[in-house]
Subunit: 87 residues, 2 copies
Amino acid sequence: MQFQARIDVKHLPGIADPQGATVQRSLPALGYTNVSEVHIGKLIRLVLDAPDEVAARVQVVEMCERLLANPVIEAYEIEIIELAPNT
Amino acid sequence: MQFQARIDVKHLPGIADPQGATVQRSLPALGYTNVSEVHIGKLIRLVLDAPDEVAARVQVVEMCERLLANPVIEAYEIEIIELAPNT
């Protein structure tokens, strides 16, 4: 069966987010003075073959720990969606 | 009122996604041969003050067009969540 995984990778609390900080500093110059707490993370989408949803999730967690995220500075949330057989 | 915006910025179809392609090429070397269609985009979170949800969404669309996304190569999806008054 095929599953789509959506992995939301964000900085752990307290870890600097330079990309978010840069955007936040730029917004007032464009006239947006009502924006705060800008955080920029990654959203990874992928498709994998697995016997069931549990196996898919276990593999995605393993891939996050090994490659997709940096567990020292990043947290990740995984969402697994079963794809219809004809897609 | 305060609103949280979550903005999912992804490449338009047909636009090269070098970060996703690099991850996809790396996975077989780690033993993951069942993964395809790896796409890596940005997930932006921010908080803004606005009179209502419609005004918040209008401002976020404008910020996406001007700064947060590159409409020539990227698509974006916006989700607006009202924050409880005490947060």
